[in-house]
C-alpha cells in the first residue's frame, strides 16, 4: 500500500529545474533509498515532501490525501518527520530538552513528554548525554539526536537526509542498526538520502536514482548496482557489481 505518492513533481527556482517530473511511490513499511550526485535534487525533493517548498507542478499524496500545499508542522502532525542534512540541533538546549520539545506534539503534559523522550533517547543510544547542551555533542551523536527528535514526534514516516555523512566506520554500523531498528521495532517507513553506497545498498529495499533533477532509475539495490545508466551517472565503474 502506498503511504506517500510523489506525482510528477517539478520544483523550479528561477530558470533552474531542481526537480523535474519526478514520480515514485513509498510503500508502507519499506526503506526506500534516494541517491544521486550532488545537486541532483534529493534534498529539494525532501523539502517538497516535507512541506518547506510548494512544488511548481505536480503533487504529493499522503495516504491518498493531497498534502503538497501544507506547511511542515501540519505534515509533522500527520506523521511525516524529517532530519536535516546539516544537523540542526536546538543548540542552547540540552539533549533531553531538544527531544522534549518535539515530543510535545503528541503529548499533553511535560511528564509524558519527558517519559517519551527518555525512551527515544535510550533507543538511539543517547541516554548518557541527556544533560549535555546539544552544541557540545560530537557530530555522530548530533546525527543521532536528529533521529531521536524525529522519532519523538511519533511519526509514520521518517525522511532521513544524509544521516550517515561524516560518520566514522564504527558510528556508521551503529547508525545502520538504529535505522533498521526503526523499521523492525517501530514499524516506521523510511525514505533515506545517502551518498554512502555500502549503507544504502545494505539498508534499502528499493532505490530511486536522481540525476539533474530527473529520475533515471528505480529498482532493488542489485538492479541499481547493475544499471548502466546509474553507473555512468553516479556510481562509476568500481561499484558496478
Amino acid at each position: 500500500m502506498s503511504l506517500i505518492e510523489v506525482k510528477d513533481v517539478t520544483m523550479r527556482f528561477g530558470g533552474l529545474s531542481a526537480v523535474a517530473d519526478v514520480s515514485f511511490v513509498l510503500n508502507k513499511g519499506e526503506i526506500l533509498g534516494l541517491i544521486g550526485p550532488n545537486g541532483a535534487g534529493k534534498t529539494t525533493l525532501f523539502n517538497v515532501i516535507n512541506g518547506f517548498y510548494r512544488p511548481t507542478k505536480g503533487d504529493v499524496f499522503l495516504n491518498g490525501k493531497r498534502v503538497s500545499n501544507l506547511r511542515p508542522h501540519v505534515l509533522c502532525k500527520l506523521g511525516v518527520a524529517r532530519t536535516f542534512q546539516v544537523v540542526r540541533p536546538l543548540q542552547r538546549m540540552s539533549t533531553l530538552d531538544n527531544v522534549v520539545a518535539s515530543a510535545f506534539i503528541r503529548t499533553k503534559t511535560k511528564a509524558e513528554a519527558e517519559k517519551l523522550s527518555l525512551e527515544v533517547l535510550q533507543f538511539t543510544g543517547l541516554s548518557d548525554d541527556i544533560n549535555v547542551l546539544s552544541k557540545g555533542l560530537p557530530l555522530g551523536k548530533r546525527k543521532r539526536l536528529e533521529i531521536a527528535r524525529a522519532l519523538a514526534t511519533q511519526p509514520e514516516i521518517i525522511l532521513l537526509d544524509e544521516a550517515f555523512a561524516g560518520l566514522n566506520p564504527t558510528e556508521i554500523n551503529e547508525q545502520i542498526e538504529i535505522v533498521q531498528k526503526i523499521r523492525t521495532e517501530r514499524g516506521i517507513t523510511i525514505l533515506i538520502i545517502e551518498h554512502h553506497m555500502k549503507v544504502i545498498m545494505a539498508v534499502s529495499d528499493r532505490i530511486v536514482v536522481l540525476n539533474y533533477g530527473q529520475k533515471i532509475a528505480e529498482g532493488t539495490p542489485s538492479e541499481i548496482g547493475h544499471n548502466p545508466v546509474v553507473i555512468e551517472a553516479y556510481l562509476g565503474e568500481e561499484h558496478s557489481a
Binding site: 508542522h73 518527520a81 522534549v100 511535560k110
Partner: protein, 313 residues
C-alpha cells in the same frame, strides 16, 4: 533556599513601605519594578522566542494611552486601563504580529522599530482624540503617598514573574525556545511557528501594556514623547534585558535595578549634559563584548577574577 529566593525577595519588598523611606527612594523602587515588568515582558519575545523587538514603546504607549483615554473621554478611573488594555493590547499584538512576524531576524527588528515610531507620530497628530503633544493629565492622582503604587506594581511584577515561570516550564516555553534556536527545525518538528510567535508577542505586548497603564496612573501625565519614544522606552527595554541577561528569569529584574540606578546617577553627574546617552552606548558595547549573556547569564565569568585572586593568596 534557591527555590524560595523569589518568595523571600517578594516578602522583603512587601516590608519596604514600612521602613518609612523618602519619597524619592520609593519613586526609584517603583521605577525599578516597572522596568522589571517591561523587561520581563520583552524577554518573553526577545529573550526566549528570539524575536528581537525595537518597538516595545508601541505597547507601552498603547497601554498608557488606553488608561489615559478612558479617563479623558469616559471620565472613569484610569485604573480601568489595566484590565481594558489586556483586550486592546492583544488586538494590537495580533495586528503587529500579522505584519511583522513573517519577517525574520534583523528585518523583524527593523519593522518593530518603524512601528514604534509610527505610533509616536500618530499619537502626536491625534490632537482631537488624544490631545496630541499636549498630552493627557489626570486632574488628581489616586494617592499622594507612594505606598499603594508600590504595592500595585509589586504585585504586577510578582504576577509577571510567576506567569513567565509557568509558561517557560510548559509546552509553550519549549516551543518558544525551539523557535529561537532554529525556526525551520522547529517547524519540521511539528511546531506551528507563526502561531507560537504570535502567542509570544501577545503575552509580551499585554504585559508591557499593563506597565504602561500603571505608568499613566502613577505619573498622572503622559504625552507621546514620554510614552512612545524610541530611545527612552524601546532601546532602554532592550538594554535592561541585555545588561541583566536575556532568556533568564532574573535578568530583567537585575537589569532594571542597574539601569534605573545608573540612569539616576549619570543624570546627576555634572558637566556632561545630554552626553549621558553616550555612557549608555559605551556600557552596551562593553556588555556585548565581555558578558554577552548579561550579568545573570555570565555571572560566573564576572566572579572569575575574584576567585583567582583568592586562590593565589
Amino acid at each position: 533556599m534557591k527555590k524560595h529566593l523569589p518568595l523571600i525577595i517578594f516578602a522583603g519588598l512587601c516590608c519596604v513601605p514600612l521602613m518609612d523611606l523618602s519619597s524619592y527612594i520609593m519613586h526609584i523602587l517603583i521605577l525599578v519594578l516597572m522596568w522589571s515588568v517591561i523587561g520581563m515582558a520583552w524577554n518573553i519575545l526577545g529573550g526566549y522566542t528570539g524575536q528581537v523587538s525595537f518597538g516595545h514603546a508601541a505597547f507601552f504607549g498603547f497601554g498608557a494611552y488606553t488608561a489615559g483615554l478612558l479617563y479623558y473621554h469616559l471620565e472613569i478611573s484610569a485604573w480601568w486601563g489595566i484590565p481594558v488594555c489586556v483586550v486592546i493590547l492583544t488586538a494590537l499584538s495580533l495586528v503587529i504580529g500579522y505584519i511583522c512576524l513573517r519577517l525574520r531576524g534583523a528585518y523583524f527588528a527593523l519593522a518593530t522599530l518603524a512601528l514604534g515610531e509610527i505610533c509616536r507620530v500618530t499619537a502626536e497628530n491625534l490632537v482631537d482624540f488624544a490631545q496630541g503633544n499636549m498630552g493627557i493629565m489626570l486632574r488628581e492622582r489616586t494617592w499622594v503617598d507612594k505606598t499603594w503604587y508600590f504595592y500595585i506594581i509589586l504585585f504586577i511584577a510578582g504576577g509577571t514573574f510567576i506567569l513567565i515561570k509557568i509558561v517557560m516550564e510548559s509546552k509553550l516555553g519549549y516551543y518558544f525556545v525551539a523557535i529561537r534556536e532554529d525556526q525551520d527545525a522547529a517547524e519540521s518538528l511539528g511546531i506551528d511557528t507563526t502561531f507560537y510567535k504570535t502567542v509570544s508577542l501577545c503575552l509580551s505586548g499585554v504585559l508591557t501594556g499593563i506597565a504602561g497603564a500603571f505608568f499613566m496612573n502613577y505619573m498622572g501625565y503622559i504625552d507621546p514623547g514620554v510614552v512612545f519614544p524610541l530611545y527612552d522606552i524601546s532601546i532602554t527595554t532592550v538594554m535592561v534585558v541585555m545588561v541583566g541577561g536575556a532568556a533568564t528569569y532574573w535578568g530583567p529584574v537585575v537589569g532594571a535595578v542597574i539601569m534605573v540606578f545608573l540612569a539616576e546617577e549619570i543624570r546627576s553627574l555634572p558637566y556632561i549634559g545630554a552626553a549621558h546617552m553616550t555612557i549608555f552606548g559605551v556600557i552596551l558595547i562593553l556588555i556585548i563584548l565581555f558578558v554577552p549573556n548579561g550579568i545573570v547569564g555570565d555571572y560566573k565569568k564576572l566572579l572569575k577574577p575574584f576567585k583567582r585572586k583568592k586562590e593565589a593568596s
